[in-house]
């Protein structure tokens, strides 16, 4: 399974191979279904000598591996899902690196205040305040105004296993 990082079609094809969780909401019919997956990003040198980014299922993960967390959603209903917000705490053993999606992701260093990383600060033990860095990120959030009926999309973030 070799592909360029941005080739969404191929990534979606990989979903079939990866262990995936469909997420039905509640007991009553939920208009939006979500699915979460984890892939390992590896840089490998192909037979022709080219460096390629390889996405693999998270079956073999060791410290230092880059992991791509993908949350995909499908609004299969005829209703619009308004104010659609996905909030993902970054697991403690994962160092946040970056995020992307159809909307600009927001991050947080405390789980309460979200924004662009450059707008956030971290208070040190001595009371001094410094700009937040990617290593400080504890949560990532995507806030959509609305998910249109019968549409789908996905958001992603990249982290490294500490």
């Amino acid at each position: 399974m070799r592909q360029g990082a941005a080739e969404t079609m191929t990534i979606r094809a990989l979903f079939i191979a990866a262990a995936a969780f469909a997420l039905p909401f509640g007991a009553h019919a939920a208009p939006v279904e979500l699915k979460s997956e984890i892939f390992v990003e590896r840089t490998e040198v192909s037979d022709s000598g080219e460096t390629e980014l390889v996405l693999a299922p998270a079956d073999r993960v060791v410290p230092g591996d880059k992991l791509r967390f993908v949350i995909s959603f499908v609004n299969a209903s005829d209703e619009e899902a308004a104010n659609f917000v996905i909030t993902n705490p970054v697991p403690g053993s994962i160092a946040y690196l970056s995020a992307d999606g159809p909307v600009t992701p927001e991050v947080s260093v405390d789980g309460e205040q979200f924004g662009a990383l450059g707008d956030l600060t971290v208070a040190g033990a001595d009371g001094s305040v410094r700009p937040a860095e990617t290593a400080d990120v504890t949560h990532v959030r995507w806030a959509f105004d609305a998910i249109a009926p019968n549409s789908e999309g996905e958001v992603r973030y990249l982290g490294e296993l500490k």
């Binding site: 969780f21 230092g64 899902a81 917000v85 705490p89 697991p91």
Partner: protein
């Protein structure tokens, strides 16, 4: 519009992770990613928390084996317990066993000229620094913590034969193992990877879970040459002025042992038959059984030694001279030198009178 938040619940679902200081998250730690969602449908708030998706951190097997000290270990023919030293370091994100093997490098005539006997790997117990045969008996590394190192010795016996200053190499190999006592427990790269179990990834230099290093033995032997010199000391006519070996002349035999090797020769014993047609001098002013000279020149040698035991002497030589017996019936010189140091010379002298 009021939204309920499931953030708190999501956060609570994330277990505390054990992070090793240097080598990353421990193998076997479960990592799960959980997110929460809120949205409104027709003004009605929907919330949810994903079922967590996760994996178990796998074992990133890495180790190093290095020769310690950069020194060559001297070994002599037939020696016991010649020790070389290595360091094995566990760079895995898990506590590890390592199986050990010690082997001779194939003789190549370049830097390996002989094989030592029975090279065996032993692990330093930590009780007493340096190899202790009574303490350092473990033959595999048991439960080496992440980023910890342990000293491993290869202990060998000397060869049965060899040439002075030739070298021989031995190889220590450490193999990642779930239980270092048997080869059957060596880790292998898992065939069927599974995100719910701990798989193995070889991250060592050879990507095979085993690393090795060489160390060098050098054969140190004594190389002895024995020279016998006869010098006429005096004759009955000329005395000590250009004496000739005529009947009645005093002749001194000097046996010189030279050690051209790089190891001391110890407990060297030898004998010499008093020649025919002479009579050994067994007492008196001319008796000169000397053991501590460094050559056979007339002026050499400080200690004059008339001893059958080494009592009171410091020259390390004992011996005796008889006037009868031996091949010629005229007596035998017997001598024992306790030590002939490397590159040094010792002599034994005795005198006879020509019949």
């Amino acid at each position: 519009m009021i939204k309920k938040s499931f953030l708190l619940l999501a956060a609570a679902a994330i277990p505390a992770q054990a992070i090793a200081a240097d080598l990353g998250t421990d193998a076997g730690e479960a990592v799960s990613n959980t997110f929460s969602v809120t949205y409104d449908v027709n003004g009605s708030t929907q919330t949810g928390v994903s079922a967590s998706v996760g994996f178990v951190v796998d074992r990133k097997i890495n180790l190093t084996v290095a020769e310690s000290g950069g020194t060559v270990t001297d070994v002599s023919v037939g020696a016991s317990d010649a020790v070389t030293t290595f360091t094995v370091t566990n760079k895995t994100n898990d506590t590890m066993d390592f199986r050990l093997t010690a082997a001779n490098v194939a003789t190549n005539g370049v830097d390996d000229f002989f094989d030592v006997v029975s090279p065996t790997a032993y692990v330093e117990s930590g009780l007493t620094a340096g190899y202790q045969a009574a303490e350092d008996t473990a033959t595999f590394i048991d439960d080496l913590a992440e980023d910890d190192s342990v000293t491993v010795y290869i202990v060998s016996d000397g060869p049965t034969t060899g040439t002075n200053n030739q070298t021989a190499k031995v190889t220590l190999t450490a193999i990642a193992s779930s239980n270092g006592s048997a080869a059957a427990n060596d880790y292998s790269a898992s065939g069927a990877n599974n995100n719910a179990t701990v798989d193995n990834l070889f991250a060592d230099a050879g990507n095979d879970g085993e690393e090795s290093a060489d160390d060098t033995y050098r054969l140190q032997s004594a190389t002895l040459t024995l020279t016998k010199v006869a010098t006429v000391i005096e004759d009955p006519v000329r005395g000590t002025s250009n004496p000739l070996a005529v009947p009645g002349a005093v002749v001194e035999y000097c046996l010189r042992v030279a050690n051209g090797g790089s190891a001391d020769a110890t407990n060297l014993s030898f004998s010499d038959n008093v020649p025919a047609n002479v009579t050994a001098v067994l007492s008196g002013a001319d008796f000169l059984f000397r053991t501590n000279d460094t050559s056979c020149t007339a002026t050499d040698g400080a200690d004059e030694d008339v001893d059958a035991s080494d009592g009171g002497d410091t020259d390390g030589g004992i011996g005796s001279l008889t006037g009868t017996g031996g091949t010629n019936g005229n007596g035998v010189l017997s001598a024992v030198l306790s030590t002939v140091p490397a590159t040094e010379t010792r002599t034994v002298r005795f005198r006879v009178i020509v019949d």
